[in-house]
């Protein structure tokens, strides 16, 4: 009898546990009956500061843990290095429980903590049976294990990232259409003549026949042509005799793709938008084929044509905004990042090329010699999605010494125009002045060679930075052979001064990834906390730098794109293939994250306020940090950098 009563009794404490857990993954994915069972069976533990929850090599407990209050640090046993910090709602101690092995790390309270212990039985019966919760656990499990590139886990790494990401973004649906509200309607007993008069006066091609605000049918220009003008019906007949009925109706959240499919399927050009998506509810509006065509004006082909036709930088500015909208649409439609990168790169390049052409047209004379205009940095790597600074350079063919100043002045004037136009279009001036209108970045081939030779043979910090940016170039306009000549000479210089690669290596390691997240903070390896995350310099650039260095060390110069570089590396170093592939995943996840963030905030997306990101996002980012850490370790070993560091 006691137990019967207990089953039905109110359990205030369990309710509080429930209220706490329900906000955190994976518990937020669970059915409430499962979460209730878990909440009613949690054990609460108090851990004073500096005491262990478990220690390395300890036999696995029959629990995993959730931090309720306080903070638990996960430490490596041998050197007491902090590996992770868990705060309210974080899970730990799961790996050993799943693996049924020993603990490989120490868990110690950094602050006095209260933790919930959840038994393996609950885990099995009430959590892992839920596919979504299970995915989260596996993902968190993968992000915490020592080597996430082990073969058995690679699938998680590649699949889970995308899955979790998709479930959480706010753009899970396709773009919904905008339809014409307040459509013109008439009653079924109106004459065809009157309906046609209304259509003519309102300059519309269709009219909806309604009864009590519900759409009965539709009469279009085509009906008038095929049914009335042919004499089949008289203009004094009622419209309901010639209307197409029933109408095809949809709810207002119909997506572009759905609308297109419906129109094709039913061979019609108009859809009714009604309150509940059936013809039996109030008519809200009408969606015509034309509306869809207007929506789709931001396609790559349309934009490319517009770029070709444009004649001022102002026009290009609007086209660039169209590109931004296209990007937004792609992100919303979950188009894969590599595809988006390619399309946007082509469009950006076309815009820059057009800016060069427009500037050339403004010059009083044609260029005295051949020249090349290059995009550098992220533009050069074809990895620019959001508008960022412009980085570019100009190379012109060698001229006799007496003509050098005159020639250089010509190209500096040209470059000034180009840089100005790009700025108008939306590519802001580079604060470091890495632009073609800077006399240092507008040189003849021989001068460039000399400059690079100096940078490579006497490397210092700033010059390394200049070099790195120049290894990522993309030819935009002009004579490609000049670039080839220059880059061959650069590779020659590198070959003779191998130590240069070590300097490049040092540069690639200057930004180690952060360790983890803790509450509203980013935890640095030093233990320092920061409340903002510079995703560009702390996560994306380290991956870019590493790819560049490794590719250069193999003497490959064809690839100037991070993903392509890692793919090439995976090919030539099969033993490190999994690491390189995980770098690609990390790079794509980070790029997507940055782009979404930038689009939401209307910024370059570079600085991320940690308050704005969810636990899932943090987990996702944390997994990327692991890839960065691994690739940096590889570089450190390969280039023997621990001695120099």
């Amino acid at each position: 009898m006691l137990f019967e009563y207990i089953d039905s009794m109110k359990n205030t404490i369990a309710e509080r546990v429930f209220d706490f857990l329900k906000d955190f993954p994976p518990f937020d994915c669970l059915e409430s009956k499962d979460l209730e069972i878990i909440s009613r069976n949690v054990t609460i533990r108090y851990i004073p500061k500096n005491e262990n929850v478990f220690t390395t090599d300890e036999e696995v407990h029959d629990h995993f843990y959730v931090v309720k209050d306080g903070a638990i640090g996960i430490f490596r046993n041998k050197d007491k290095v902090l590996v992770d910090q868990c705060d309210e709602g974080d899970i730990f101690g799961l790996r050993a429980l799943i693996r049924k092995g020993h603990y490989i790390l120490n868990a110690e309270a950094i602050e006095e903590s209260i933790i919930y212990c959840i038994s393996s039985e609950l885990l099995e019966n009430n959590i892992t049976i839920n596919a979504k919760a299970n995915k989260y656990l596996l993902a968190s499990f993968v992000s915490n294990i020592r080597n996430p590139y082990a073969h058995e886990n690679i699938d998680f790494l590649e699949n889970q990232v995308e899955n979790i990401q998709q479930s959480k973004t706010h753009f899970t649906e396709l773009h919904s259409v905008s339809y014409s509200k307040d459509p013109v309607t008439c009653l079924p007993n109106v004459t065809i003549k009157l309906a046609a008069q209304v259509m003519s006066s309102k300059k519309i091609g269709s009219i909806i026949i309604t009864d009590a605000e519900k759409p009965l049918g539709i009469v279009t220009d085509k009906d008038l042509r095929t049914k009335v003008a042919t004499g089949a019906f008289s203009i004094d007949d009622n419209v309901d005799q010639i209307m197409s009925s029933p109408v095809i109706a949809f709810a207002k959240d119909i997506t572009v793709a759905e609308a297109q499919i419906a129109m094709l399927q039913h061979k019609i050009s108009h859809l009714c938008i009604t309150e509940d998506g059936t013809a039996n509810s109030k008519l809200l509006g009408i969606l015509s084929e034309h509306d869809i065509v207007v929506l789709q004006s931001n396609t790559p082909t349309v934009l490319i044509k517009a770029i070709e036709r444009s004649s001022t930088d102002q026009e290009l500015k609007y086209i660039r905004q169209g590109i931004q909208e296209l990007l937004l649409g792609y992100m919303q439609q979950q188009i894969p990042i590599p595809f988006i990168l390619k399309i946007i790169a082509v469009l950006n390049k076309a815009v820059i090329e057009k800016a060069v052409l427009l500037s050339l047209a403004e010059m009083h004379s044609p260029p005295p010699v051949e020249f090349t205009f290059l995009a550098l940095g992220s533009q050069g790597r074809n990895e620019q999605l959001l508008l960022t600074d412009q980085d570019n350079a100009l190379i012109f063919k060698d001229v006799p010494e007496e003509k050098y100043t005159e020639t250089k002045n010509y190209f500096l004037t040209l470059a000034l125009k180009i840089n100005h136009k790009l700025n108008t279009i939306g590519f802001e001036y580079c604060p470091a002045e890495m632009m073609a209108n800077n006399p240092k970045w507008c040189l003849s081939v021989s001068q460039w060679k000399q400059q690079f030779h100096n940078w490579i043979t006497t490397p210092d910090k700033d010059q390394i930075m200049l070099c790195t940016i120049f290894f990522d170039y993309d030819f935009v306009y002009g004579d490609n052979s000049l670039v080839k000549e220059l880059s061959e000479s650069i590779f020659e210089s590198i070959k003779n001064y191998n130590i240069f690669l070590n300097f490049l290596g040092l540069d690639a390691l200057k930004n180690p990834p952060p360790l983890s997240f803790f509450r509203q903070f980013l935890v640095e390896s030093s233990g320092e906390h920061k409340d903002q995350f510079d995703i560009k310099s702390r996560a994306i650039m380290p991956l870019v730098d590493a790819a560049r260095l490794l590719v250069l060390s193999h003497n490959f110069k064809e690839h100037n794109n991070t993903v392509l570089r890692y793919q090439k590396l995976a090919q030539i170093e099969p033993q490190n293939k999994t690491l390189y592939l995980s770098c690609i995943t990390a790079f794509q996840v980070l790029t997507k994250f940055r782009t979404l963030h930038g689009l939401q905030q209307n910024t370059s997306g570079r600085f991320i306020d940690l308050k704005s990101i969810t636990k899932e996002d943090k987990l996702k980012l944390k997994r990327c940090f692991t890839a960065i850490k691994e690739i940096q370790q590889l570089i450190q070993v390969r280039f023997n950098l621990s001695q120099i560091l």
Partner: protein, 222 residues
């Protein structure tokens, strides 16, 4: 064994309860079951006031087990509108209620063999004992710990002669106050307090169960 006791007249549930206290087992701090509990009453008068609800949680010296809880609401004719403002329990509330006797049956079953822990335990124990007396039953047999007394054993207690309220100790030990003035909520807060005090005590030196019972200040509470 002792023929002069009223053994025969006592009901079975009491005998079941009492049997758990017959053998003297050696108690270990790590394995002993504690029951942290709190009562909400119609007032502070031991004889005239009645228990409205009991909240109790099973615990060890380091953990509290939510799966091992008891939350009882008791049917009472005595009702005090003034204290209702504090605990929020209405005379005819929507909670499933049990008769007082039934509540005692459940409670004894739940606490058998355990060490009871409460804040200012003397009051709660007296309330229960008065209740037992009404039912013609002996007093509780459990060992009892008072978190107010336990706190005075710690080095952080500023004044050994003061009575510390649950609110004051919650503030000292940085415990979030949730569901305050419900029996279950106060039992939970008392439970966290108990875990924190015990961990504080065992940090200082090796501690045995009997040490918990040794009173530094033997003046009673009531």
């Amino acid at each position: 064994m002792f023929p002069w006791t009223k053994k025969k007249s006592l009901p079975e549930f009491w005998m079941n309860y009492a049997n758990h206290f017959r053998t003297k087992k050696k108690l270990h701090l790590q394995t002993t079951r504690f029951v942290i509990f709190d009562t909400e009453t119609t007032g502070l008068h031991i004889k005239n006031d009645r228990i409205l609800s009991i909240g109790a949680i099973g615990a060890t010296s380091q953990t509290m087990n939510i799966g091992d809880t008891l939350e009882l609401y008791v049917k009472q004719d005595v009702y005090n509108p003034k204290t209702a403002e504090i605990h929020g329990i209405l005379k005819e509330g929507s909670m499933t209620r049990v008769e007082e006797k039934q509540a005692i049956v459940f409670f004894l079953e739940f606490i058998k063999g355990a060490i009871l822990v409460a804040h200012h335990a003397a009051f709660d124990i007296s309330m229960i004992n008065t209740c037992l007396k009404r039912l013609s039953l002996p007093k509780l047999k459990n060992k009892v710990l008072d978190t107010g007394d336990l706190f005075k054993k710690t080095t952080i207690c500023p004044d050994k002669n003061k009575h510390y309220s649950l609110d004051e100790l919650s503030a000292i030990f940085n415990i979030k106050k949730q569901d305050r003035h419900t029996a279950a909520g106060d039992a939970y807060i008392t439970g966290i307090l108990f875990l924190k005090i015990v961990s504080h005590l065992i940090q200082k030196r090796h501690f045995f169960i009997k040490d918990l019972f040794f009173r530094s200040n033997r003046k009673g509470l009531l």
